[in-house]
Amino acid sequence: MTHKIKIKGISEGLLVTVGEGEWPEIRQSLLDQIQAQADFFSGANLTLNVGEHEIKAADLGSLRDQISEKGIMLRGVISKSARTEENAKTLGLATHFDRPQPERSGKAFDTSVSGDDAILVQRTLRSGNNISYPGHVIILGDVNPGAEILAGGNVIVWGRLRGTVHAGASGDESAQVCALELAPTQLRIAETISITPPSKKKLHPEVAHLKEGQVVAEVWDLHKTKK
C-alpha cells in the first residue's frame, strides 16, 4: 500500500507532509513518489514534516543522502517529536520555517501576509513549450494549444489558456486554475481530469476548481474565494 504524502509550495521551497503509519513504509513510499515525479521535484528545496514519527539521526542522514541523489536538497525537518527534532539539529537541518506560516490563531495585530512559492512567466507559451514547477505558476501571456503547465499549486493565466494544464499535480485538491479565457485542451486538478466540451470563445475570466470530485469552471465574479 502507498502512503499519501502532501506537498505544498512554501516560501522556502516545498513542504512535504507525511501521514500516519509505520515509518519504514512511509519512508519508502516517500522515496517512490519522489522517484515517480523526478522532473517535478528536481532542484527543489524540501522541508519534511514528519509529525509524531521518531526518527534516528542515522536514518535521517541516509534519507537526506538518498533524496539528494535525486537532485533535491533536504532543507529541514519539522517534527512534533523532540527526539526527531534533536536529531535533525545534529545533522544541521532546519527545524522550523524561516518565516512563520500563516496561522488562523496568529497575533491579533499582525497585518503582514506571507506568500507561497510561485514562478512568474512573462511570455506566451507556444506549442511545445512546457513549464513544471512545484509551487504556483503565473503566466503573463497566452498558453497556446500544444503547450503544457504542470504545477504543484495553482495556475493563473493572465491571457488565453488553450493548452494543457495540471494544477495541484502532487495531489492538492484545493488547487485552482484561473484564466482570462479558460478554454484548455485538457485541465486536471490533482487526480481529476476535466472533460469540457469544446466551447465558443468566452471573453470573461474564469476559475476552475474541484467540487464534489468534479472539475467545475465558474465565471470569476460569481466565484467567491473562500480562503
Binding site: 507556444r126 506549442s127 511545445g128 513549450n129 497566452d142 497556446n144 494549444p145 500544444g146 488553450r162
Partner: protein
C-alpha cells in the same frame, strides 16, 4: 550591397515553402533586385524543379561546403529573369553534410553581391531547419489554414524567438475563399490571434500553382493569377512597401477583415 537573408520555413511539410521561395525570388528579381535562392532541403531537393532549372545543375551546396567547387560554380543563373540565381541542394546526401556555421559562411560570402538571399527550409525542427535559420535576418513562417499546420507553425515561431531570429512574420497559404465564406475554414483572424505575429501575406488556393510548378514556370510570372499577385505583393512587403491585401472574394466581408488584420499587425522595421 549588403544582402539580407530571408528564410522561408514552416513546422509542417507541404504547406508551400518551396513554391513561395521560388516565387519571391522571381518577384523580387523582377523588381530589379539581385536574388539568390538556396535550397536548404538537402536530400529532398526540389526548388530547382519549381524554378525549372533542374537540367542545369552541375554542382550543389554540399560541393561548395566540402570544397569541390567555388561558390560561383554552384550558382545557376535563371535565363528568363535578370538577376535571379539558384544554389541547389544535394540530392544524394543527408542534412548533416551542411552545418549551421557552413550556412552562415556561404551567406556571408553572398551578401556583398546580392540584395536578397532566400533560403528554402525543410519542414520540421531538425538539423536542416537549424541550418536554414542560422544565417537569417528575416524569417517568414508559412502555414495553411489547418489546425495541425497552425500548431506546428506556433512551435516553429517559438523556436525562432528562442534563437533570437524573431520576430518572424506569417504567410497563410492556400486560403479557399469559398470555404471561408461558408465558415468551413479556420479564419485568418483566428490564426493571427493565436500566433500573434505580423501577417505578411495571404495566398489563395489556386490550381494554377500546381500547373505552373509542373511547367517550371513560377506563378508570380503570371499576372492574371490571384496567387501570383499575392506572391508579388508579399515580395513588395518584404522590401518595406505597404501594400493592401488582395480581395479574395466578391462578397466584400472578407476584404474588410483582412484590412483590419493588416492594420492591427503593427509595422515592424524592415
Amino acid at each position: 550591397m549588403a544582402g539580407k537573408v530571408l528564410t522561408i520555413t514552416s513546422g509542417k511539410g507541404g504547406v508551400g515553402k518551396t513554391t513561395i521561395t521560388a516565387n519571391l525570388g522571381v518577384a523580387l528579381a523582377s523588381h530589379n533586385q539581385k536574388v539568390v535562392c538556396i535550397d536548404g532541403d538537402i536530400g529532398l531537393r526540389n526548388l530547382d524543379v519549381v524554378l525549372g532549372l533542374e537540367n542545369r545543375i552541375v554542382y550543389d551546396i554540399v560541393d561548395v561546403v566540402e570544397g569541390r567547387c567555388k561558390l560561383r560554380q554552384a550558382m545557376i543563373r535563371d535565363k528568363r529573369i535578370e538577376g535571379l540565381f539558384l544554389i541547389p541542394a544535394a540530392q544524394t546526401r543527408d542534412k548533416t553534410a551542411v552545418s549551421p556555421s557552413d550556412m552562415i559562411r556561404v551567406c556571408d560570402e553572398l551578401r556583398p553581391d546580392f540584395d536578397w538571399i532566400i533560403v528554402d527550409s525543410p519542414a520540421g525542427i531538425e538539423r536542416g531547419f537549424r541550418n536554414a535559420i542560422a544565417p537569417a535576418d528575416h524569417v517568414l513562417v508559412v502555414t495553411n489554414p489547418e489546425v495541425s499546420a497552425v500548431r506546428d507553425a506556433d512551435r516553429i515561431i517559438g523556436i525562432v524567438e528562442a534563437e533570437e531570429k524573431g520576430p518572424a512574420r506569417l504567410i497563410i497559404n492556400r486560403i479557399d475563399p469559398v470555404m471561408v465564406e461558408r465558415g468551413d475554414m479556420i479564419s485568418t483572424e483566428d490564426i493571427v490571434e493565436l500566433l500573434a505575429i505580423e501577417l505578411i501575406g495571404i495566398i489563395p488556393e489556386d490550381s494554377e500553382v500546381i500547373i505552373s510548378t509542373n511547367r517550371g514556370m513560377p506563378i508570380a510570372l503570371n499576372g492574371k493569377s490571384k496567387a501570383g499577385q499575392a506572391l508579388q505583393n508579399i515580395a513588395r512587403r518584404v522590401t518595406g512597401e505597404t501594400v493592401p491585401f488582395l480581395e479574395l472574394s466578391h462578397q466584400g466581408g472578407f476584404i474588410r477583415q483582412l484590412g483590419k488584420i493588416f492594420s492591427s499587425g503593427g509595422s515592424k522595421n524592415e
